[in-house]
């Protein structure tokens, strides 16, 4: 019985500290969720801003925006990066990619710098996909983004053809 005493003390301490963590989580969870949703909203707002800029540069009319060729769409896809799942948002005008942003990821800081809005990922929508290469030292992360965007672009092309047929 005496030999079980250390285990009992350890378990008791773990229980008390677990309670302390539960209390902290209870008070911080709403703030954390608010911060995360604000960060996602900011990324989506950036994509909407890109769409508005593209519409302005193409001088599209409201009537044109109702057509399949220029239909606005912001879509979200989940893919697997190096550290876990990544949530990617992509903005389209018809079949044309306007921009992409990573809403959430679990990649190693430093190696995920390419996902910052002003870094590698900003190339999506500004130059052809064939001209965007993966980033060395963040190959798995950037390849996952590139493949997801490519798949979605292929889907948008198919969708546009079907949409035009319907019309």
């Amino acid at each position: 019985m005496k030999s079980l005493a250390p285990i009992f003390i350890l378990a008791l301490t773990a229980g008390i500290l677990g309670g302390l963590l539960a209390v902290t989580a209870h008070y911080t969870k709403p703030l954390i969720e608010q911060n995360r949703s604000e960060a996602v909203a900011a990324e989506l707002e950036e994509l909407q801003e890109l769409i508005r800029a593209r519409i302005k540069s193409l001088e599209l009319t409201a009537r044109q925006l109702e057509s399949c060729e220029y239909q606005i769409e912001i879509t979200q896809e989940t893919t697997k990066g190096y550290g876990g799942n990544m949530e990617i948002a992509m903005a389209f005008l018809g079949e044309s990619l306007v921009g992409a942003r990573v809403l959430s990821h679990r990649e190693t800081p430093g190696f995920a710098d390419a996902l910052d809005p002003d870094a590698w990922i900003s190339a999506f929508g500004t130059k052809p996909l064939s001209g965007i290469d993966t980033v060395s030292r963040a190959t798995i992360t950037t390849r996952a983004v590139l493949e997801t965007v490519n798949q979605r672009v292929a889907y948008q092309v198919e969708w546009l053809q079907l949409c035009l047929l319907d019309v």
Binding site: L10, T13, L17, T28
Partner: protein, 196 residues
């Protein structure tokens, strides 16, 4: 006691600059003053909190579960620090998230808990933790400032290789000053002894 702890933990036995402990986050996060300060505050919170609790519990901790108990306490305070920072300083947290979570493996913290907090009374344990944290923070923030400023002239300092080179150079300067002040102190002491 306070003066001795301050001299020892801030300078002569500084955990980062002399004992070279906790260098992983130090090299990784010290790319700017902001990130370095964030990690310094979080490390201080974990060290002071863990040292205080371990010191209070030291008579009740059986020797066979000593290390698991230390890790349990450090992990709890690290998780609390992570949650608080994610709630109150989200943008900073996003930059140093990974290194916040690995504070639990920082040998500087486990070392002070094992050497001091588990053997000393509450006030000494807390004082030691505060001065050690201050010493670690001084090196972390100082190094972050040097890298941030130097990066305007030499962008290499922000790279991992640049971090090692810059830290090596700073250590050399630190050791030079340390040895020089030690020699001056010893020669002055000898002179005093000769006079007497």
């Amino acid at each position: 006691m306070l003066k001795q702890l301050l001299t020892q933990n801030l300078w002569s036995q500084n955990v980062a600059a002399v004992q070279l402990l906790g260098l992983c986050p130090l090299l990784a996060v010290s790319t700017s003053i902001e990130t370095a300060s964030g990690l310094a505050v979080a490390s201080a919170f974990v060290l002071v909190g863990s040292a205080a609790l371990i010191s209070l519990l030291r008579h009740f901790i059986p020797d066979v579960v000593r290390l698991p108990m230390f890790v349990l306490v450090i992990a709890t305070f690290t998780t609390i620090a992570v949650m608080i920072m994610e709630a109150l300083a989200f943008s900073l947290y996003m930059q140093i998230a990974l290194f916040m979570q690995i504070i639990v493996t920082n040998c500087m913290i486990l070392g002070r808990i094992n050497q001091v907090a588990s053997q000393q009374k509450f006030s000494i344990a807390v004082l030691d933790a505060v001065t050690t944290s201050a010493g670690f923070a001084a090196v972390l923030v100082g190094f972050g400032a040097v890298r941030e400023l130097a990066s305007h002239v030499l962008p290499l300092t922000l790279d991992p290789a640049g971090a090692f080179l810059t830290f090596g150079l700073l250590l050399a300067v630190f050791q030079f000053i340390n040895l020089h002040t030690k020699e001056t102190f010893e020669s002055e002491s000898r002179a005093d002894a000769d006079v007497h």
